[in-house]
Subunit: 160 residues, 3 copies
């Protein structure tokens, strides 16, 4: 008896901006709740969404990068209206007032719904983020070809 194949969504999460991460996890949890297989491939700035806490590598460049764009998922700021931190504070305040889940809660929901989280190994090397600095729920650290394979089998593909 033919069983319907589950639909699949794959996304590259390139951005580390609070609002874009929020959109990425909203789409991912919505898709997983709609019974889709969901793959999130985090690269470049998006890696912050998988980090345990603020820290980059020990080299000069790693430390400069940390100073300029350090921080884990809780330190993400919106792509607009930063104004020295007020943007993040305001954004979170508004979200809460409207009973919208936080980014941390959304990520937790995604994981509970079986969304697969992959880190881009090359970006991790360049940004000097070792695997130990990532949350335990990261499925695997992989290369771009892995994403391509996932995307080929997907019904929906997005770059965020």
């Amino acid at each position: 008896m033919a069983e319907e194949k589950r639909k699949k969504l794959s996304m590259v999460v390139f951005s580390g901006d609070l609002d874009k991460l929020f959109a990425a996890f909203s789409i991912a949890t919505g898709a997983a709740a709609s019974n889709m297989d969901v793959t999130m491939f985090f690269t470049f700035w998006g890696l912050r969404a998988l980090k345990k806490k603020a820290s980059t590598g020990k080299s000069l460049f790693g430390r400069m990068l940390g100073l300029m764009y350090g921080g884990d998922i809780n330190r993400a700021t919106p792509s607009k209206m930063s104004f020295g931190g007020i943007g993040r504070w305001m954004f979170k305040k508004m979200m809460k007032a409207k009973n919208v889940p936080s980014l941390l809660e959304l990520r937790k929901t995604a994981i509970d719904l079986g969304v697969k989280l992959y880190g881009c190994q090359m970006s991790m090397d360049v940004m000097e983020i070792p695997k130990e600095k990532m949350i335990d729920e990261v499925t695997e650290c992989v290369g771009v070809v892995f994403f391509i394979e996932q995307a080929q089998q997907s019904d929906v593909t997005l770059f965020i």
Copy 2:
């Protein structure tokens, strides 16, 4: 006799930048003119493309948001070279010199070609934009699961 199924394109319009909105509506009208079904799902900053005129909510946060990023489709600035408004002025000037339609004209064409425009209800709640502030041509205000359903049936999916 088998009739060929119309191809479908679904996009999330997250950005409210003039140049990205321009790209989004260009792709949408191009696809609709090529006989595709087109769904645009406007969320976060992208909602400005559906607003009647500059205005956000009445709460402190709504008003701050308005100050920092208010405005309707005519107030959109390019993602680069803002320089206090000169970017928008220059961009429009160049477009006009090359006989490129304005964003307003493009949106009108999209609507005339049957492109469906959806507002993200959650973003509207958070940003305190009531349905009355949106243009009448908005098809419906919906949640992320609605977008997922559309995207699953689509041949082309984009996040802009």
Copy 3:
């Protein structure tokens, strides 16, 4: 005997930021190496990735645009941490330290692997970039409907 159809990837490259161009070419070369047909459609700021060297048009607007956002692929800066050029310098330094290929090398690899590079004719008109200013490997300068046709036949579509 049925031969399996090659899978196809089409992307719009809208951004001219170093990090996003890097992501775009990484995905493109990864896909081409995985035996996919790859189409890259460069528009707006993304056009810089196809330019021979820094130059825009001769009109006042063309020259202003050149001043504000001129430069070829080597002048691209990351979307974050520009700080007057230090971002680009640091980014390249780190890439090199990790033996990551440069953007120029990645583009060369993409071309060698048969990735098709298209320029958006309308953006070229608006930004006053004549065909002669583009690298010889540009396959063709086309309109948005060409991209739509490619995307319709694609298994993976991305907007970067």
